[in-house]
């Protein structure tokens, strides 16, 4: 786990403050930003993958059966997937529900 900025001393920094762990931003939970979330209905999902293509976070993937699902750790609830789904298999609901 990368130590957060507030816990780093000047000696902890790499030369030139270079970050040497590629993609360590994936430790950050952007899912906390949501006010709405997508619900994926696998009974309607045609497994085309267009939701996966259009997600700006890149957090939509396939489950064991091949149906597409958003990773709620990252999902910001923008709703692009619901808008673009050809099979209308995705609905957006308020986060509180």
């Amino acid at each position: 786990m990368t130590k957060p900025a507030g816990m780093l001393t000047w000696k902890d920094l790499e030369i030139g403050s270079v970050v040497t762990e590629p993609g360590n931003a994936s430790q950050y939970q952007t899912g906390g930003w949501r006010s709405e979330r997508p619900i994926f209905d696998s009974s309607k999902c045609i497994k085309c993958g267009i939701c996966y293509i259009f997600c700006p976070e890149g957090c939509i993937g396939q489950d064991a059966e091949g149906y597409f699902q958003a990773d709620l750790f990252y999902c910001k609830g923008c709703g692009i997937c619901a808008r673009e789904c050809w099979a209308k298999a995705i609905t957006i609901v308020p986060e509180e529900e």
Binding site: T2, A5, F54, C78, G79
Partner: protein
Amino acid sequence: MEKYAVFVPKLVTERENFAPGHRACIGCGEALAVRLACKALGQNVIIANATGCMEIISSPLPYTSWRVPWIHTLFENTAAVASGIESGLKILMKKGRIAQQEIKVIAMAGDGGTSDIGLQALSGALERGHNFLYICFDNEAYMNTGIQRSSATPYGASTTTSPAGKVSIGQVTWKKDMPAIAAAHDIPYVATACPSYPFDLMAKVAKGAATPGPAYIHILSVCPTGWRCAPGLTVRIGRLAVETGIFPLYEVDNGTYRLNFDFLKLRPVTDYMKLQGRFRHLSPDIVGKIQTTVIEKYHRLKAKAITTSEVVKWAG
């Protein structure tokens, strides 16, 4: 693109070289564009990035969203830094200090870092003929600092430094034609792309990266925050930009213009503009002026195009 190398989502590599956990706004069209571009670019690249939205949201110390080598220095020098990396790699391989291999240098910058403050460096790098791909992610304003106008801001759009007001319609100049400026340098490959047409975008990025010498790709990046539109409509609005003829998708392949998508009839510009708050203040007169100009420019472009790839229906 007559044929796509990849035409279904499941053939696209699953690897995310632009890792989730980045701090882009919800529904960010630019993040989507970068993500798709990275899919097409693969591992053997070095990216030089300008200061801007993508740099800030992807690299807050000590985190990074990048899984490929990446360097950010300043706002206006991306093409110059890319030139340096390209030359460095060339000589190091020539002198045998690093192994011979295909490593493509990619420059990424926003519209500000390209058509305004970064124009000089870009022009210099294109003229010198460095082997690199320059991608401009155009969200039509200086979005990272809070929506100030750039020379890529469209006529009539309201930004904080070209606000709509009692005596102003917003931006009073027309969008600078950056792809034309790039093409004027006689480089082997210039293209426009939009993430709403993801396979077209990925094919073009791959083609640009595979072109020996300088290549330039201009990608329209819908910005819900700055354009004042609903975040879920990002892909739809990008599509409308193309279908109205406002942002035609074309390539200039060694000087030959190719229009990638044509339409039997262009959509009215209002279909595109009514979804965005930055155009809300415009009078029908101004909208009419915009409509006429868009049609005129579209036909001028079409006249230059030798072949048209596809005539498609509106997806909407």
